[in-house]
């Protein structure tokens, strides 16, 4: 089957703007979590977030600003970085040879709050002409395809926090089918009062106010997750097609993938994460001993952490593989988190170093070889990235050098 490699990476994250700034911060253990500043959170059940604050006028054409949500602006920045990194300009490529697949979770909710408010407080005539598409789930795919002239396949997937890996797998399929270049991943996030109210109703968000104590996956003191914004977009190509346009360098290949779903609670059947890992490894033609590092889903909800730790121990053996969660420095970025982990895993393979998890003082699972506080140099040839989505979604992606 056609090999699919990553030739470009674009990142926007709470702890770094652009790939290299994000990677430097991540290796240094610098967290981007802080008190929520977008609005007064005192009336709500959570107070810490991973914000990405920037001046959009410095990065995007002015005409795009009235029609885009904050997360779409971030996605457009990451898309431009990924394509530049790959040395690709889809607008000059043959017709229909470049496409886009992104993942979303809730769409442009902040834009939506503004327009809902206009509707209810002033009337229908005050709703923006852009609302029809500025909030909808595939908005990032559409805006990216327009900005870069990408007329090939376009799609958007939603599987709460697991969808980002599904988007990369779908893009891999399009490359295997013959599309020369796919841009895929997710940049997501939603930090407005209306989304904050919805997010905190998930029951998985930490109520703590101390940014260093709010998100502690695999810690005895775990209290939930912290929402953040950002993510990563990647350029996927067949290596020979990349070489044809003069691009010989790549970060690694997408070697395996699988998605599974948990049975209904109380069914007595086992959850699906283990099968996602086993199936993704089989898809990559690898065994557990071939995996050098795992980027965990790391929900921060104690029960879910325990389930993940037990699966990792069962697949790889007790302390059988280094496990890390750099998302402790960004928060959980809705659909964007898993693609950001894929970016981090590719950079880890490139630089032979495992980025750390931070703030975890009391590891709760003895069988987990958690990489904490300091980066760990290691010979790395393959990495496993895991993502779970609220409601029962499990996705696993295998990357190799």
């Amino acid at each position: 089957m056609t090999e699919v490699v990553v030739t470009g990476v674009g990142v926007v994250a709470p702890n770094g703007w652009g790939v290299e700034e994000y990677w430097a911060a991540t290796l240094a253990g610098r967290s981007g979590l802080g008190p929520l500043t977008r609005f007064d959170s005192s009336g709500y059940r959570a107070h810490v977030a991973g914000e990405v604050n920037f001046t959009p006028e410095d990065h995007l054409p002015g005409r795009l600003l009235p029609q885009t949500d904050h997360m779409t602006r971030l996605a457009l920045v990451a898309a431009a970085e990924a394509l530049a990194d790959a040395g690709a300009d889809p607008a000059v490529m043959p017709d229909f040879s470049a496409g886009v697949v992104t993942a979303a979770s809730a769409g442009g909710f902040e834009f939506g709050q503004k327009e809902l408010r206009a509707l209810w407080s002033k009337g229908p005539a005050y709703v923006s002409a852009y609302q029809a598409f500025a909030w909808f789930y595939p908005v990032n795919t559409g805006q990216i395809s327009i900005r870069h002239g990408m007329r090939g396949p376009g799609s958007a997937l939603v599987a709460e926090q697991a969808g980002g890996l599904d988007a990369l797998a779908k893009a891999r399929r399009h490359v295997r089918e013959g599309t020369a270049l796919m841009l895929a991943g997710a940049v997501d996030g939603s930090l407005c009062p209306w989304s904050w109210l919805c997010l905190t109703r998930s029951g998985t968000v930490s109520p703590r106010r101390d940014p260093r104590r709010a998100f502690l996956p695999f810690d005895a003191d775990a209290s939930g997750g912290v929402p953040g914004e950002g993510g990563a977009l990647l350029v996927l190509e067949a290596p020979e097609r990349a070489a044809e346009r003069g691009q010989h360098r790549h970060y690694g290949r997408i070697a395996g993938y699988a998605a599974t779903f948990d049975p209904r609670p109380g069914s007595g059947r086992p959850p699906g994460l283990r099968r996602a890992i086993d199936t993704a490894l089989a898809d990559a033609g690898l065994g557990p001993s071939d995996i050098d590092v795992v980027f965990a889903d790391a929900s921060g909800v104690a029960e879910q952490d325990r389930a993940e730790a037990e699966v990792l121990s069962a697949v790889f053996g007790p302390r059988g593989v280094p496990v890390t969660a750099p998302k402790t420095m960004t928060g959980r970025l809705l659909a964007g988190g898993a693609p950001l982990d894929v970016a981090a895993a590719l950079l880890a393979l490139r630089d032979a170093v495992i980025p750390p998890s931070v703030h975890i003082a009391q590891p709760a699972h003895r069988d987990l070889d958690l990489v904490r506080d300091r980066p760990r140099p290691a010979r790395l040839t393959s990495a496993l990235v895991l993502a779970r989505g609220h409601g029962g979604f499990n996705s696993a992606l295998v990357l190799t050098r």
Partner: protein, 426 residues
């Protein structure tokens, strides 16, 4: 007939529908073949302040449809439609109990997710827009399920006991085709043998109506609600909003054959392209849709002349119907003038992401019953739309294959091809 990706082929073995008018596949097909329009003045809220006040509404009774009081309270109307349609599709296919959970998946399409609930709950927690800092104390416990439309996929997965790939495909008004295409890919790639797939949208709410008012996409023909949606007619002036769901059991062909399932049709090919032009506008030339059609036919190993019926997007906006007609001529050549083309949006309105799943149902039923549904309300031909749009009256004829297309916000253009069980290839 072979497919593009080796031996695994995908067939439709179950259909479930919640459409404007009465729920159920039979009522839907009766409506279409009678050429009856289900559009009417909006009844679920006061439409007086809006420019467009007509829509095709479902006469949906959740209790009579078998939902519990708790489900009715908790689930958005979009999820209710999806589950009710899915139950009909599962019963129709007889697959329940036969399918292996780990080889079963779900793909749900939607453009607008849980819009009605979000709109209603926002009005409460914001005190009708007075408060920016929405009120936590008045928020219902289900807000997160409305926030993420993937909650609908979870309910469907539990219904069919799916433990394989599960998710939502959302590409605006092409969602219904793209979700079926993605589900077929998962079967072809051997990730599943059975997929429950389809799309649902129930978005006839103040915010949706206001959105389309703002860009004048919907029809202002408020004094003639029954004939408001007029695809390909010279007097067309926008689409009539609709709502509904259609869900399907898609099955690997040998899996279906082994259990002796009734096969409606095989999904032989599909493709999607972006116009990379505008989030809402269409180029007149129809190039991207034509390309999607060409690729979908190529993957189906079909020539243009093999297309027996074209189920059109036919939204009844000025630009769409022209754009689409150009795309048919470009991709099908002279055959575009000979093949029957119709838009069922003339009868069921435009239910956004759900509508091309409903159109996929109509396409499979056209094959099954050898009837081409008509384009209702087409009385005054538009000289720029000069194909055979099957005006007013259904046509009894063999339908060996169907091409169904869609076009939507974001620039998405999609095409999917179905072939009847007797189709033996070109």
């Amino acid at each position: 007939m072979a497919v593009d990706n080796g031996r695994r082929r995908v067939v439709v073995t179950g259909i479930g529908v919640v459409a404007p008018g009465e729920a159920g596949t039979k009522a839907f097909w009766d409506l279409l073949t009678a050429g009856r329009s289900a559009t009417r003045t909006i009844s679920t809220f006061d439409p007086t302040p809006f420019r467009s006040r007509v829509a095709a509404e479902c006469d949906f009774d959740p209790e009579a449809s078998g939902l519990t009081q708790r489900q009715i309270r908790q689930w958005d109307r979009t999820a209710q439609f999806a589950v009710v349609a899915a139950r009909e599709a599962l019963a129709d296919s007889g697959v329940s109990g036969v399918n292996d959970p780990v080889r079963t998946g779900v793909m749900a399409g939607t453009a607008c997710g849980m819009t009605i609930s979000l709109d209603r709950e926002f009005a409460v927690v914001s005190d009708e827009g007075r408060k920016h800092l929405v009120d936590d104390a008045h928020g219902v416990p289900y807000l997160y399920d409305y926030f993420v439309p993937s909650s609908m996929a979870t309910e469907l997965a539990w219904l069919v006991e799916a433990e394989g790939p599960v998710g939502v495909v959302s590409t605006g008004c092409t969602s219904g085709i793209d979700v079926i295409a993605h589900a077929c890919d998962l079967i072809r790639d051997d990730a599943a043998d059975v997929m429950l797939a389809g799309a649902s949208d129930a978005a006839i709410s103040p915010i949706t109506v206001a959105c389309f008012d703002a860009i004048k996409a919907t029809t202002p023909r408020n004094d003639e609600p029954e004939s408001a949606s007029r695809p390909f007619d010279l007097t067309r002036n926008g689409f009539a909003l609709g709502e509904g769901a259609a869900m399907f059991v898609l099955e690997e062909r040998e899996h279906a054959r082994r259990r002796g399932a009734h096969i409606y049709a095989e999904v032989t090919g599909y493709a999607g392209r972006c116009n990379a032009y505008s989030m809402t506008g269409l180029r007149v030339d129809g190039n991207e849709m034509a390309e999607a059609i060409r690729v979908a036919l190529d993957r189906s190993r079909m020539n243009p002349e093999d297309v027996g019926y074209v189920n059109a997007h036919g939204s009844a906006t000025k630009q769409n119907d022209r754009h689409e007609t150009a795309a048919f001529k470009k991709s099908l050549g002279d055959h575009a003038y000979r093949v029957p083309v119709s838009s069922i949006k003339s009868m069921i309105g435009h239910s956004l992401g759900a509508v091309c799943a409903l159109e996929f149902a109509a396409s499979a039923l056209a094959i099954e019953h050898s009837v081409v549904p008509p384009t209702a309300n087409l009385h005054v031909p538009d000289p720029e739309c000069d194909l055979d749009y099957v005006p007013l009256t259904a046509r009894e004829q063999r339908v060996p294959t169907v091409l169904s297309v869609a076009s939507g916000f974001g620039g998405f253009q999609s095409a999917i091809v179905l072939a009847g069980p007797e189709w033996s290839g070109a």
